[in-house]
């Protein structure tokens, strides 16, 4: 569990920098219109209830991290094409995804060992590869804005 907490703390500590790096790399007017363009208004984002039981929280965390991990994969892929020279952003995205993969594994392990939950149904964000560039930018920014907001709640919940 401490591994999970540490990883959550790590994610929480780096989420804001990742968010800033992302919207800065997208160019104007993203940095000056973060509220409008990057507002955390994603409808399909997995819910998380901080006052639930540990099992519930772990299940929800698993869903959320699975969703985030897949979405960040899309964002990383899109940014490699869109911003091939934004190496700092790529690095942050990759680091975040690495932590999430580890977190996902640890959460599933915890669920399995303690609560004997071997499978959790997850949802993923739609693929963005067919979307236009502005939509990719905007969805990525909204995702990271939501992630920054949610991860602080999750980190405090454990």
């Amino acid at each position: 569990m401490s591994q999970i907490k540490n990883q959550l703390a790590q994610l929480n500590g780096s989420a804001n920098a990742l968010f800033i790096s992302y919207y800065t790399a997208q160019g104007e007017p993203f940095p000056n219109n973060v509220d409008k363009l990057c507002g955390p208004n994603m409808t399909d984002f997995p819910p998380f209830h901080a006052n639930g039981t540990e099992k519930t929280k772990l299940v929800e965390l698993y869903r959320m991290v699975a969703y985030l991990s897949a979405s960040l994969g899309n964002v990383t892929r899109d940014q490699r094409v869109l911003n091939p020279n934004a190496l700092s952003l790529h690095s942050k995205l990759n680091a975040t995804m690495d932590i999430m993969r580890g977190l996902l594994s640890n959460v599933l392990c915890r669920l399995c060992n303690k609560y004997h939950v071997g499978h959790v149904d997850v949802t993923y964000a739609p693929d963005t590869s067919s979307k236009d560039v502005f939509q990719k930018k905007k969805l990525g920014c909204q995702l990271l804005g939501t992630y920054k907001q949610v991860i602080s709640v999750v980190a405090q919940a454990f």
């Binding site: 091939p84 930018k137 905007k138």
Partner: protein, 1093 residues
Amino acid sequence: MGVYLRWKQPSWMVDSIRMRMTSHLPWLLSALTLLHLTVQAHSLKRGTIQDLKCTTKNMLVWDCTWTPPVGVSPATVKEVCIKDRLHSCHRLESTNIKIAALSPGDHEVTINYLNGFQSKFTLNEKDVSLIPDTPASLSLSADLSSSTLHLRWNDKGSAFPYPSNATWEIKVLQNPSMEPVKLVSFNTTLNGQDTVHHWDWASELPLQCATYSVGIRWYIDYHRFSGYKVWSDWSLLKNISWTPNSETNVFPQDKVILAGSDITFCCISQTKVLSGQIGKTFCPLIHLYGENVAIRIQNISVSENSGTNVVFTTEDNVYGTVVFAGYPPDVPQKLNCETHDFKEVICSWNPGRPTGLVGPRNTDYTLSESISGKSVTFKRFETLTNESYRLAFQMLPGQEIHNFTLTGRNPLGHAESAVFINITERVAPHVPVSLRVKDINSTVVSLAWHLPGNFAKINLLCEIEICKASSEQEVRNATVKGAQESSYLVAVDKLTPYTLYTFRVRCSTETFWKWSKWSNEKRHLTTEAIPSRGPDTWREWSSDGKNLIIYWKPLPINEANGKILSYNISCTSNEETQSLSEILDPQHKAEIQLERNDYIISVVAKNSAGSSPPSKIASTEIPNDDIIVEQAVGMGKSIFLSWHADPNMTCDYVIKWCNSSHSEPCLMDWIKVPSNSTETIIESDQFQPGVRYNFYLYGCTNQGYQLLRSIIGYIEELAPIVAPNFTVEDTSADSILVKWEDIPVEELRGFLRGYLFYFQKGERDTPKTRTFETGHSDIKLKNITDISQKTLRIADLQGKTSYHLVLRAYTHGGLGPEKSMFVVTKENSVGLIIAILIPVAVAVVVGVVTSILCYRKREWIKETFYPDIPNPENCKALQFQKSICEGSSALKTLEMNPCTPNNVEVLESRSIVPKIEDTEIISPVAERPGESSEADPENHVVVSYCPPIIEEEIANPSADEAGGNSQVVYIDVQSMYQPQAKPEEEQGIDPGVVAGYKPQMRLPINSAAEDTAAEDEADKTAGYRPQANVNTWNLVSPDSPRSTDSNSEIVSFGSPCSINSRQFLIPPKDEDFPKSNGGGWSFTNFFQNKPND
């Protein structure tokens, strides 16, 4: 538009009318009237057709229609006949006929009706209108990404004679207003075949922002058709349609455009759009229709990597798009193709101006080789540095000639560059690897290296760089025959034994293009060889002359040819050869005990390869008594020595040197100079400035060395570091003798060039004399250039005066420190004597002269100053002759005439310094206590002096005269002069008598003790007595302050004065004469002239 057939008037009829009208106008009018009536009648018979109209679509068939004459039904048409034509009549039951095109020219056409009427007219091609069929477009499509409409249609050219020119007109209408936004026309040629044409139109406004309709029409211009050409009708409008994406509201999306161009973005919105911006810049909204708006961007700048964002803000959402503005690829520059190994060709280039586009919009490069027909593609998302643009093209075996074309392509365009090469001339081999070195002997090694690649058909040119440890560098070339994936071997000779070398190799081809990079360095130490010569040798006899010390220098590495292990020293005399033990290497000196015989000393250096040739030196030194020690000064760290050539010197010259302060045997180093040289420059790191060195030049003869010259010198002279130690040997009133000592050589630091001696008046610790100020006029300087001089006498000084002496030594290096001393000259005794003797002599002379004058004028003096005082006892006035008194009645009595006394007030002395307050004179008698009982309580004694009044009887006329002229009045006599005690004989005198006359007497100086002595001398002072002791006179001048402070009337004088004069009879001393105040005045000063003395 149309051409209508009409009845054609016979030409002859018209002409005849014209002819008649001109000459017979009245007749003409009558004829016209008649004609009209005739025609009317004829028309009624034949019938008249109206609105004849003939058109054609393809110039092959004419379609004519007409309106039948009035009163005739169109159904009554029976036939239409055309003259001069086969099957000239066509049965017909309408007023429309399609006939094959008639040949050019007029054709008479007759229309027969069932009712017998007949109409005739002339038909010509010129009257026919060519109206092609309405074009039918095959398709209308739209490229939304490029906002382009594509229109395709078929010209159906097979239906027309060809070649014909077709002119097309296309119109684009923007909905819903149906305003034409584009109308273009262009020409094509009909070639007898059905041809599909297309027309593309790029809309400034994205096609998604509105709906568009397109129509087309045309007309045909056939040069053989003389009729009218008329536009066809517009085709049916074709509309473009697209399915809107619910997420996409801003158009165009992800467009790539040329930087600097203009672009319009539109936003399709159901709600009101509040603003539109590109990047941070807000733009004015252009209303389209509904809530749709657009913004127009002009001269767009190059985008960032992620594109330029265009954002529209509505009341409830934010929509946007991204535009990528950049440039098409620049022409690839510096395209260069070469091979490293004959396996692949590497082409590199400079992309030129950046496109500003990255990722999928980045420039793709394709390298095509036209001979082989192969190509490779370069595609990367990232923006690379110029050096990274390179492509590898796999070579085909045997193909040497290559024609490469490099094409860069991005969404905005493409550019290409080409190069034609023979690959054998463009070889830049890989870096040689696996460099190995192997010894062959001490001066030859073999080098081997591997060069990857297939160079079988060419020769390789390689450079071998040889570096010694001393950084000496040499490059040698070697040509080797190329091979496939092979190693290459080269022998490198002319090396130095026992030397550390660094080798490295690079290669090219004989048809030079580029060198490969240098291989890694390989260090190698060559093997040893015997030393090439014996060591440089010298010998010195020890100070006691019993031992011979042999010195030798270590061989330089290039002559040692290895590590010197030891030295063998041997001595050879006429009788024997004495071999000494081996001296191991670090030691380069050996001392052997020899008698002073002639020996030949031999020194041999040994290394692992063998022994060097012996180096020999004779022990004998040929004496030379004619040696003069010379001086020399060097330059920097070297010293130049030259000498005259001596033919007797057959071998060489040796110059040895040592520090002069070192003890014998003195040897720092030596050098050997060839015998044909007469000069040399000696350099040594051991040389130090300011140090004296001895240089000895030896010449070598067959018998031994002979000292030729002895030189002392400095590499650089410095100033002495100490001052000469000097003392004062002798001092007189006007001179000082100074003596100094030599400065030690170590402290002199140069050749002594002289001394500077300064002196000036001054005493120790006075600021003036602490230092010698430059240019001070009082400083006297003596430059002593005779360095053998050790004393100096400074003359013309002033006696009893302190002098500041300073002595400094100097060399060419500068002045040394100073040493100073203060000396006081002695007093001048002659002057002192003179100063004493002269006043004494003057005083004696004055005394003698005064005595002589007094003696000669003694009478005058006596009469003037000491007139005889008549004895009262001898005064006849007081003598009472008994005879007279007793016997004569006529005796007269002393008649006491009234006597007017002169009052003399004597002031009492109250202090040693008298203060005169009034004119009273204190009587000395009154001061006596016993005698003062009757005195005035105020001690005032009024001396009543009554001059003797002798009436008519003057016993002694001379005395009278004298008495009349000798009225001495004592006035204002200071009370300090106390009167002496009265003589004994006067003590019995009645006070009244005393009061009558008061003789002059010496006044004591207020000392009671002296009273006794004064009484002893009373007898002597009983008579007239000169005025009191002059020593007690106050030497205050009349105009002294005291005098001026006093009342002039009561001023007391220290000298008596006559009644006629108040001047001192003995004049006071000169006021200018300096008082003896004991303040340092001396006779010596009396003789000093200078102010500062």
